[in-house]
């Protein structure tokens, strides 16, 4: 048999010589994406529950959080075993680190979704309350922004796109501004009528959760840049 001549370098670098290692890394990557999809749907349903005052949906979000926690534990377990057995280096090491950090951010996003769902139960569980529609609109605005960032962050974790990651980070600044202006509006609303304080506080907590979700999405994008470029850009934004 003659030795085939390789046509491109990637013939040699398509994966690890030890194939099982590739499988383990791929599974880890898959777990992040699975967890990402799950928390994305958790946030989406928490917001939907808020919008439609759907208590059953809110309860569902609260219950399903255990699934997020389970995935986090599973991923952590796989990461520890992979480090122990494979001693990842270079791009593999960066990927494992990025995955490890992303998992904890995703878990916290899951917690924020639960927080929003719990507030929905609290606000709308009481029949007598009559929330102001303007405030609900504020939540929808922040919610759309947080969802957009989170969706992009999970997607770029799939394709490892540095460019898209930087776009997510840039978008976070808009969200900060939106959050500040929402707070100012809420303050005006409280000053107009003190009977609405209770509801306004709940809304503040919801938009704060959404702001946190946007922040975690930014973190995910930063981990992606670390994975792709080996560059730690945390706290280096102008």
């Amino acid at each position: 048999m003659s030795r085939p001549v390789p046509t491109a370098m990637n013939e040699f670098t398509e994966g690890h010589t030890f194939k099982r290692y590739d499988g383990e890394l791929n599974h880890l990557h898959y777990l992040v994406l699975e967890m990402g999809a799950l928390v994305l749907s958790q946030v989406r349903e928490a917001l939907a529950a808020f919008k439609s005052r759907d208590l059953a949906l809110a309860h569902k979000v609260v219950t399903r959080d255990s699934e997020v926690d389970r995935l986090e534990v599973q991923a952590d377990d796989e990461i520890v075993k992979l480090i122990a057995r494979r001693s990842p280096v270079g791009s593999d090491l960066r990927m494992v680190m990025a995955v490890s950090k992303s998992i904890s951010d995703l878990e916290r996003i899951g917690d924020e979704a639960v927080r929003i769902a719990s507030l929905v139960i609290q606000i709308f569980g009481n029949e007598s309350s009559d929330p102001n529609s303007q405030l609900v609109r504020d939540v929808n605005g922040m919610g759309a922004m947080a969802m957009g960032s989170l969706q992009s962050a999970v997607e770029i974790f799939d394709v490892w796109s540095e460019e898209k990651a930087r776009a997510v980070i840039a978008r976070h600044r808009d969200m900060d501004e939106e959050f500040q202006s929402d707070l100012r509006r809420l303050m005006t609303y409280i000053m107009e009528d003190s009977r609405n304080i209770g509801f306004a506080i709940s809304v503040v907590l919801v938009i704060k959760s959404l702001e946190r979700i946007g922040h975690h999405a930014q973190n995910l994008a930063e981990y992606t840049i670390f994975q792709v470029k080996g560059e730690d850009i945390r706290n280096k934004n102008p």
Partner: protein, 344 residues
């Protein structure tokens, strides 16, 4: 069904890709890994199993094939096009050795191409790369061990403390005292422990009397971390020590002639993990006084012991830099693929 007992199949084979072929066949037979990569190079399986026995016989005849004679089996020359220049920080602020435009030929075959590298004082630099990449050849250039190889030509400059070691009139005997070497297999002389260490200082005339010689032997054994284990019986044969102790004895022998630079060619590949750890700890202590260049196939070892790492591929220095950076954020794709186990 095949049952294939394998006892440390890679421990002695790493020097030479020719030696690895039988191993590849063994892995294929065991069916544990995906065989496509092996099949691509078309090794006939059964032949290689026979060759495994032949290779073992050849080694008994003490004719280990030199790295110079090996063709890179797994890495065709077409790959080298991607790596025309060294990436990373090849200069240092405190160089002990400076290599400029070093080319090494074995007859017609070029083993090292346009190598530029500084080796800093008081640090360990690890040379890594697949078999046949030129790292051992380069190591041997640093104390002119290649002089004895017929057909070997070295061009360019290798400066030790500013002096070209290849200039006319350089006596290689004192050079090799200044640039000592420790080999893959421990090779103590068939003499007592004391005589093993005393031999060098005696022939170089470093000691004027017995007491001085004794002091040198003691100090060298202490620095090599062997003193406490052997001080009660320095007359026992060096060959009666364990493998790890023998290797530390060889290091003591090197230290006894007061070198500036110590070259190590896979010093731990024949040792068990505990002996390996002791040597690694020793390297960490020795670098306070010496410049150490180590060739290793064990990338974790390179990561553990060295401050700088240089990656060789097909006779070229592909990338060099701070070890922590090389192992977290290598710039060249070949470096990343090699250290992460994507080939080799």
């Amino acid at each position: 069904m095949f049952i294939f007992p394998v006892n440390q199949p890679t421990a002695g084979l790493s020097d030479n890709p020719v030696n690895r072929r039988p191993l590849i066949a063994v892995i294929r037979l065991s069916g544990d890994i995906e065989t496509q990569r092996i099949a691509r190079f078309g090794y006939p399986v059964m032949n290689r199993v026979i060759e495994l026995k032949l290779a073992a016989n050849n080694r008994n005849k003490e004719s280990p094939p030199q790295e110079k004679t090996t063709q890179p089996l797994l890495f065709p020359a077409s790959l080298a096009r991607n790596s025309s220049q060294t990436m990373g920080e090849w200069t240092v602020s405190n160089p002990r050795i400076r290599c400029r435009n070093v080319n090494v030929h074995y007859g017609e075959k070029q083993a090292i191409q346009d190598l530029n590298l500084d080796i800093g004082d008081q640090q360990v630099i690890a040379l890594i790369g697949p078999s046949g990449c030129g790292k051992s050849t380069f190591l041997r250039c640093l104390n002119r061990m290649n002089d004895t190889v017929v057909g070997c030509r070295v061009s360019g400059e290798i400066l030790l403390d500013g002096q070209d070691i290849y200039r006319d009139g350089v006596d290689v005997v004192p050079l090799r005292a200044r640039v000592g070497m420790v080999f893959q297999k421990p090779n103590p002389f068939p003499k007592s422990i004391f005589e093993n260490v005393a031999y060098g200082p005696r022939i170089h005339g470093f000691a004027t009397n017995k007491a001085e010689l004794w002091e040198i032997v003691k100090k060298s054994l202490e620095r090599a971390g062997l003193w406490e284990e052997v001080k009660d019986d320095l007359d026992q044969a060096g060959t009666s020590l364990s493998g790890g102790q023998q290797q530390r004895l060889c290091i003591a022998r090197t230290l006894a002639v007061n070198p500036d630079v110590i070259l190590m060619d896979e010093p731990c590949s024949a040792l068990d993990p505990i002996a390996t750890t002791k040597i690694e700890q020793l390297l960490d202590e020795l670098r306070e006084h010496y410049t150490i260049v180590i060739v290793t196939h064990n990338m974790q070892q390179a990561a553990r012991v060295s401050q700088r790492t240089a990656y060789f591929h097909l006779g070229r220095l592909i990338e060099v830099g701070e070890t922590a950076r090389i192992f977290t954020n290598p710039r060249h794709k070949l470096t990343n693929d090699y250290i992460s186990g994507r080939f080799g």
